[in-house]
Subunit: 249 residues, 2 copies
DNA sequence: AACAATTTGTCCGTATGTATA
DNA sequence: TTATACATACGGACAAATTGT
């Protein structure tokens, strides 16, 4: 069942080139028995036979994965997987996106890409329990793990209650600490919804994804001790580099 | 920000046809301001201008979405969105995949596609806290909402403890009730991990997806009142038809 | 009823990209 | 490298259906 590439059929004329379908299959096969204990993939000729395609087509797939940094190949030796285990992000009542990665990465960092002061859209106003068009502050952030972009998030805060959240965040590089400076010493995640879609243009740029990559989208509302909404956020994760885990409350 | 298709760039030569990229954009634009209050899309000529492509290319994208059942078009009138709101599946300690859809669909159903009695793989044995190669019973199931396939799941149970789980499930069409017949009156979801990937061949067949579609994969362990693992499961959801929600414990 | 404007459906041809041998 | 077949993308022209005047 695992890593069984042989049964996987390819489809022609569906708008996705064969070499790209094969690339997706190889990506999925990695870590599921496709490579050997040394991280070496089967030779191109064998892969071509398994998929039932010409060796040139497999080479195109491998070239793309090398370009993405997933594989590396050495003439005469073979093609190898660059080790990159998926990060696991915890989701739950105590979710803090900046935390929860201990032991998984050496270095993590959240960049502030920009911030605005603007009226809330209908969606945001509802989520934050504000009057329509009441002002919010929007932060645009990017999370990196060991220098690799893994998340891209947008967060909205009620401007009246958190006028200085942007500068606090710029100073501390942490939502939890920026909220603490604003007088919020505890908060929890009231709800999170998760969906998946293809990366759009912003995603491919900010997360350094290849077009056609998949992003996991997590939308959530944080509330203070009294249950009042203090933050609405939408985070896009690279589905290749991240998985989410829901721990029992 | 919402429904802003104009800024979205297309990418040539990346192995994904333009018409397919445009199809993804339209799919994403639906519900975010692309269609008007009657569910009508902008005319093909206008979409072509926005995307900077030929009308034929837009037509190819629309044809694919019509084939998928997302759109419908009428000569001389326009192209319309077939209303189909995304299902929301709750994930949490009390997760029961068969439940939680009340009010969202008229009719729901879980089919048993097959079952086996087999030795556990290393992964399964670890998850269920079994000795290596101890026997498990595997159920293959498919969930439908109003006749449309939305989930495809595989569940493993310790064979020693639940010898008749397959026949119980075949009778009741519910995991909760099948476990109840096995003497488990309460259980909870200890952990869930969520990832996203492209649909493989099995997914496209069983969930009636188009090749290149996205699936959300949820892996979870259910434990009994004493915290002993009773079930490991892996469920694939069509990302187009489903979102997951994590409610606060 | 008649006509114009709008929009989708179909046909032609041509150039480029993808995949095989 | 070359040749071949098919999918993709473009451009234009016109037919068919619907709506508004």
């Amino acid at each position: 069942m695992e890593g069984d590439l042989a049964k996987s059929a390819l489809h022609r004329g569906v708008g996705v080139a064969l070499w790209r379908q094969i690339g997706d299959e190889i990506r999925r096969g990695i870590g599921a028995g496709l490579e050997d204990e040394n991280g070496r993939l089967p030779p191109e000729a064998e892969l071509a036979a398994r998929f039932g395609v010409n060796r040139h087509t497999v080479r195109a797939a491998i070239a793309a994965l090398i370009h993405e940094g997933v594989l590396r190949s050495e003439q005469g030796r073979g093609t190898y997987v660059r080790r990159q285990k998926r990060l696991t992000y915890p989701i739950g009542a105590r979710t803090r996106f900046s935390a929860g990665l201990e032991g998984q990465v050496r270095e993590r960092q959240i960049e502030l890409l920009g911030h605005t002061h603007e009226p809330a859209t209908a969606t945001i106003a509802t989520a934050l329990d504000l009057r329509p068009s009441e002002d919010v502050i929007r932060l645009e952030m990017r999370g990196l793990a060991d220098g690799v972009p893994v998340s891209r998030s947008t967060a909205w805060f009620p401007a009246a209650r958190f006028p200085d959240i942007a500068s606090y965040f710029a100073e501390k590089h942490s939502i939890t600490e920026a909220l603490a400076l604003s007088g919020i010493n505890d908060y929890r995640r009231a709800s999170t919804t998760i969906e998946a879609r293809h990366a759009d243009d912003t995603d491919t740029r900010d997360l350094k994804l290849s077009p056609g990559a998949i992003v996991l989208v997590a939308r959530g509302i944080n509330v203070d001790g009294d249950g009042r909404p203090i933050q609405y956020s939408q985070t896009r994760f690279s589905a290749d580099r991240v998985e989410l885990t829901v721990s029992a409350g």
